[in-house]
């Protein structure tokens, strides 16, 4: 990477620190490790008092002895570097003490760690440092770990960075803004000073430490040769050289050095380690774990301030959310702000009172809940109370939390049986799947089920348990819908089991000769609504063609390419008929959640149909050109998942924030019932919601801010419950700290949702520009933050925490809802992808944005090892055409489909083994089936594993051979987001663009 090597020559160029350093040069007594000596003072919070220049040095020097013992402790706190250190100097409360206990200090192991991970780097560097080299037989890679200076090395860059950042952070409270940075100009040279005096060993630790940084191990080897990160020791950021390296003829751009999220989504750990009682990041992820203390600071942080909430995320075994029953005492909540009791409340007055952590009101502890406090003020029964120790709990809600008795889980199917539905085989697959799921529907024995089918007329089915065969009733008056039978259309599944099964068996047969091509969707929806509005529940719509009759009929719009590029373009992406919005609103009101399955190969106006799912908290499944032979498995799996996953019924969600912060907007599939109450008729583990936060007060007075997500729902078993997730985040006064604590995944998730919403009111181009501008602004602010103290030259700098942000930004611009123009994706595909992405949890979204690409042929030929976990055996490759070798076999996996790419020169043996006899045939007609040989079995096992890893969607396996156009381009090449395709930019150009814009008015 051009990371820093260009900066290296900068050292001499740095202003020699004449005055401030001299006291230093003399200061380090031999005993003090020069390294820490050189470094430590930087972290001293004393800076604010010293204006700059000479007078400041002595106090610093005098302080150092105090500081150095501190240093020796620090190496232990290496793993979560930034917060660990950023905390105290910044004067940030909260974090400073918690971090100490966290990681046990293993100073020496730590020192040995770096070498294995980054030998090449150190080698090169060592060249510079040979005189100081291995004075200790410390193991092969010549680390300086043995030197006194080496002692300080284990902390790695994070540590160094943060210690440095301490400088940036410390003074800021008193001198917000750049001036403080200028004040700081004197300190930076100090490390160099000390190193010139003694060990340049300052450098190796940096490099050695570099690979330790989370997320940088196991990277593609071409990524980030740490070599060049020399200057990084003093810098708080990563950088890329985007111009020619002086003195070299070759262009300095090395695309392979650009950061890539090849490890997938890495959740910043520091946060959860700092606050172990927070809920897990799978439930709540803040875009930055450091909340700005003032509005002005928040506005300088140009990234979104918000969170992504996935209230029902699936927990791995052993980490299930505990269920708490308060019994007669009722749920303990704050009287004023209605916060639920959580690990962060304080018990006082010998246990008789508790202080709400959000509004700090003193509440009484009910008699039944009383417990004595021990000497430290902890409740004696703390360990038996999960709600006081865990960030996530389920409370059993008493009757006050019910408007009506909890409803049974209800599944209602609205099935299109017109010509295309039967011809494509959809009807048969759907009927079989529903039948096979009857045993696993949640909520036995209370589950309710019902069906309506429709073509140009509506068909109702009497499923009364006393019947042996279902009775069909046909209603053909579409203008004045009535329900022919008030009761027996929605029946208890366990009672009417045999009738339901008989119905599902006969359903495909009944309509197999249907030649009706009309679709009275609107009236059917209305009828379903009338049947369901007593109970609410889940409505599954299987729609095969454009609604053509009755209310809500839709036109063929969107086949007019002239509309694209004009100001009216967006109108194609929003519901055409107000009928849909109104129906969606009504359904939400009566607790009906709608999932839309669309199968047509022609235009079906997903934009309108999807509106139903959007406002009822559902999702859209789209199978363009459904053929049961190809898409059958996918539909089977996804419908089954939809029917059998644990679902929360008639729920509402509210996010409470501490004083001074409020939620300003919500993004996702739901409807707002009041300003901060999300109505979610049916919610499950595959749905996530984004919220943006705003500061209400100009200045936050508290040191920490709390967030509490509460989801009130009816569990399938019929119990009313409240799921509560609580998290705490420190308030900081330093912009740098906010950047350090940023969570790329959450930011990208919020951005993707904002961009998709933007496409509903403006052109695609505008939506893409918005994303680009937002990233540019954020990077520019970051650059401004550092440009004063560092010579940045023509480097693009970004915080370690946000190193993948530009790439993900590019990926958002190239994602299906946003990329290209009218020709690049059909309108329906775009809209369906948009609705899907609005609901995806962070991890899933990141995988879709930057899918994984593996080369598998070598692995397949290797002798089989049984324990093959995808991550262990296969290496993710950058998504660029360069990664593809025509002799290889590759798997591309974005979580929604698996594309198997057969290189042109792939050994025919492999192809033959995998595909059987028809290996030479047109691959679009071949399906992958297990063959009787080891290679095929191995591959199928791998695919199975990939599918099991994430059951929320069923990735369909598609085969494509190199050069098979246009399929190849469509399936794979278009998705190689780092490449330049058609009019879109590649990764390199994108970075250059960003960089150019960042530098303008920088």
């Amino acid at each position: 990477m051009g990371t820093e090597n260009q900066g290296y020559p900068n050292f001499p160029a740095r202003p020699p620190p004449p005055s401030s350093s001299s006291p230093f040069a003399s200061a380090p007594p031999p005993g003090v490790p020069p390294q820490s000596g050189g470094f430590r003072p930087l972290s001293q919070p004393t800076r604010p008092f010293t204006p700059s220049g000479p007078p400041m040095a002595p106090p610093v020097g005098s302080m150092r002895p105090v500081q150095s013992p501190f240093v020796s402790q620090i190496p232990g706190s290496r793993p979560p570097p930034p917060p660990a250190y950023g905390g105290p100097p910044g004067g940030v409360g909260g974090g400073s003490f918690q971090r100490f206990p966290a990681p046990p200090p293993p100073p020496f192991p730590g020192a040995q760690n770096p070498p294995p991970s980054g030998p090449p780097a150190t080698q090169t560097l060592a060249g510079h440092l040979s005189p100081f080299r291995p004075q200790q037989p410390m193991g092969p890679p010549p680390q300086t770990s043995g030197r006194p200076g080496g002692y300080a090395s284990p902390p790695g860059p994070g540590f160094q960075q943060s210690s440095y950042s301490g400088v940036g952070g410390g003074p800021q409270p008193s001198f917000p803004g750049y001036p403080s940075n200028q004040v700081l100009q004197a300190p930076p040279p100090m490390p160099f000073q000390s190193s010139s005096q003694g060990p340049p060993s300052t450098y190796p630790p940096q490099t050695g430490g570099f690979p330790q940084h989370p997320g940088q191990q196991n990277l593609h080897p071409s990524y980030g040769p740490p070599t060049s990160n020399v200057q990084g020791l003093a810098e708080d950021f990563n950088s890329l050289s985007l111009s020619n390296i002086p003195g070299s003829l070759e262009p300095g751009l090395d695309p392979s050095s650009f950061p890539r999220p090849l490890d997938g989504d890495v959740v910043p750990k520091s946060f959860s380690e700092m606050y172990p009682m927070n809920c897990h990041s799978r439930y709540l992820r803040l875009t930055t774990s450091a909340i700005p203390s003032s509005q002005s600071l928040a506005s300088r942080w140009h990234l979104p301030l918000g969170a992504v909430v996935c209230p029902l995320a699936e927990a791995p075994e052993g980490e299930e959310v505990p269920l708490v029953d308060f019994g007669s005492s009722g749920i303990i909540r704050c009287r004023r702000c209605r916060t639920y009791v959580n690990p962060y409340v304080e018990f006082t007055d010998s246990g008789r009172k508790w202080r709400c952590n959000i509004c700090s009101l003193l509440n009484d502890v009910p008699g039944e809940y009383f417990s004595h406090l021990d000497a430290t003020g902890r409740r004696m029964d703390m360990d038996q109370r999960p709600e006081l120790t865990k960030g996530s709990v389920d409370f059993i809600a008493p009757t006050e939390y019910m408007v009506r008795p909890p409803v049974p889980p209800t599944y209602f199917f609205l099935i299109d049986v017109s010509f295309s539905a039967t011809k494509s085989g959809m009807l048969e697959v759907a009927a079989q799947t529903i039948k096979s799921c009857l045993d696993n529907l949640p909520g036995y024995p209370r589950t309710q089920i019902g069906f309506i089918t429709y073509d140009s007329t509506l068909h109702f089915y009497n499923l009364k348990s006393s019947l042996s065969q279902p009775q069909m009733m046909v209603v053909s008056d579409l203008d004045d819908i009535f329900i022919p039978l008030p009761d027996d259309l929605l029946v208890n599944l366990s009672e009417s089991r045999s009738v339901v099964e008989a119905f599902l068996d006969s359903l495909p047969l009944m309509f197999q000769d249907n030649v009706n091509v009309e679709s009275a969707f609107g009236p059917a929806l209305r009828a379903a609504y009338m049947v369901m509005n007593q109970l609410g529940g889940k409505l599954l719509i299987l729609q095969n063609s454009l609604p053509s009759l009755g209310a809500g009929r839709l036109k063929l719009r969107g086949d007019d390419p002239r509309v694209y590029g004009t100001d009216k373009e967006y109108a194609l992406r929003v519901a055409e008929d107000n009928f849909y919005k109104q129906m969606a609103a009504d359904c939400t009101k009566f607790q009906i959640g709608i999932n839309v399955y669309a199968f047509s190969d022609k235009y079906t106006d997903i934009a309108s149909l999807g509106t139903l799912a959007k406002y009822t908290g559902g999702q859209v499944y789209y199978y363009p050109g459904f053929q049961s032979s190809i898409h059958g498995d996918k539909l089977r799996h996804e419908l089954a998942r939809d029917l059998t996953r644990e679902t929360a019924w008639e729920s509402v969600m509210r996010i409470r924030c501490g004083k001074g912060i409020r939620s300003s907007s919500y993004h996702g599939n739901f409807m707002l019932r009041s300003t901060d109450l999300l109505a979610l008729p049916a919610v499950d583990c595959d749905k996530a919601y984004a919220v943006q936060l705003a500061l209400e007060e100009t200045l936050l007075s508290t040191q920490t801010v709390y967030f509490q997500v509460a989801l009130l729902y009816t569990a399938s078993c019929g119990e009313r419950r409240i799921r509560v997730h609580t998290a705490i985040a420190p308030v900081v006064t330093d912009l740098g700290e906010m950047y350090r604590q940023a969570d790329t995944g959450a930011i990208v998730s919020v951005y993707a949702r904002l961009a998709i919403e933007k496409t509903l009111s403006s052109k695609l181009d505008d939506a893409r520009n918005v994303i680009q501008q937002k990233i540019v602004k954020a990077l520019r602010e970051y650059r401004n933050l550092h440009s004063v103290q560092h010579r940045l030259g023509s480097r693009l700098i970004y915080p370690e925490s946000l190193k993948f942000l530009p790439l993900y930004g590019l990926a958002i611009c190239k994602s299906t809802p946003l990329h290209g123009g009218p020709a690049d994706a059909s309108l329906d595909e775009r809209c369906a992808a948009g609705f899907t992405m609005m609901a995806l949890p962070v991890k899933k979204l990141l995988k879709l944005l930057y899918p994984s690409l593996y080369r598998v042929d070598e692995w397949l030929l290797k002798a089989s090892v049984d324990h093959d976990d995808v991550k262990d055996v296969l290496r993710r490759l950058p998504l660029a055409a360069e990664s593809l070798d025509s002799r290889g076999l590759y798997i591309y996996d974005d979580g929604f489909r698996l594309v198997l790419w057969f290189g042109r020169m792939l050994s025919p043996d492999i192809a033959k083994n995998l595909l059987g006899a028809d290996f030479a045939a047109e691959l679009s007609k071949v399906t992958l089936e297990e063959q009787e040989n080891g290679i095929s079995k191995k591959l199928m096992r791998l695919i199975k594993k990939v599918r099991e890893n994430d059951p929320s969607y069923h990735p369909m396996c598609l085969l494509v051979r190199q050069g098979e156009q246009p399929r190849e381009g469509f399936l794979l090449l278009r998705n190689l987001i780092e490449d330049q395709m058609g009019g879109s930019t590649g990764y390199v150009d994108w970075m250059l663009q960003l960089h150019r814009q960042v530098q303008q008015n920088a």
Binding site: N578, A585, R673
Partner: protein, 135 residues
């Protein structure tokens, strides 16, 4: 005398309009303060929107018919704005997005109120003027 009647009638028109728009504004404000849910709020607002538009159109026609060109021209922008909303089918409150669009909708109605108030002010001036002139 005829002039006075014209002014009285148009004054009544304007006051009714003012009341309708203020009513919509209160619905939106109630929604913001959580005193009402979006369903009720949107029904209440949508019920009076077409009457409001119709009334405003009638008023314009009335000004033209009675030859008060200045007032007619003054109310034209309002009329065009209403027609444009109607053509784009954006005149009705969208129940699903009530909370997100609330701020903007309130602002729109404030402008409307300002415009109507201005008209009312001028009209009442002429009303008094012509009433006194008749004596």
């Amino acid at each position: 005398m005829g002039d006075l009647l014209d002014w009285i009638i148009s004054f009544l028109f304007l006051v009714t309009l003012l009341i309708i728009v203020i009513y919509q504004l209160t619905c939106l404000a109630d929604l913001e303060a959580d005193h009402i849910n979006p369903y009720d709020s949107s029904t209440k607002i949508n019920r009076v929107i077409l009457p409001e538009f119709g009334l405003q159109g009638l008023l314009c026609v009335y000004y033209v018919l009675t030859g008060h060109w200045f007032m007619a021209i003054l109310s034209l922008p309002h009329l065009f704005y209403n027609i444009r909303l109607y053509m784009k089918k954006e005149h009705l409150a969208d129940v699903t997005e009530m909370h997100n669009t609330n701020k903007g909708e309130q602002k729109k109605r404030l402008y409307k109120i300002a415009h109507i108030a201005l008209c009312t002010f001028i009209t009442s001036y002429w009303l008094i003027h012509s009433a006194l002139g008749d004596i």
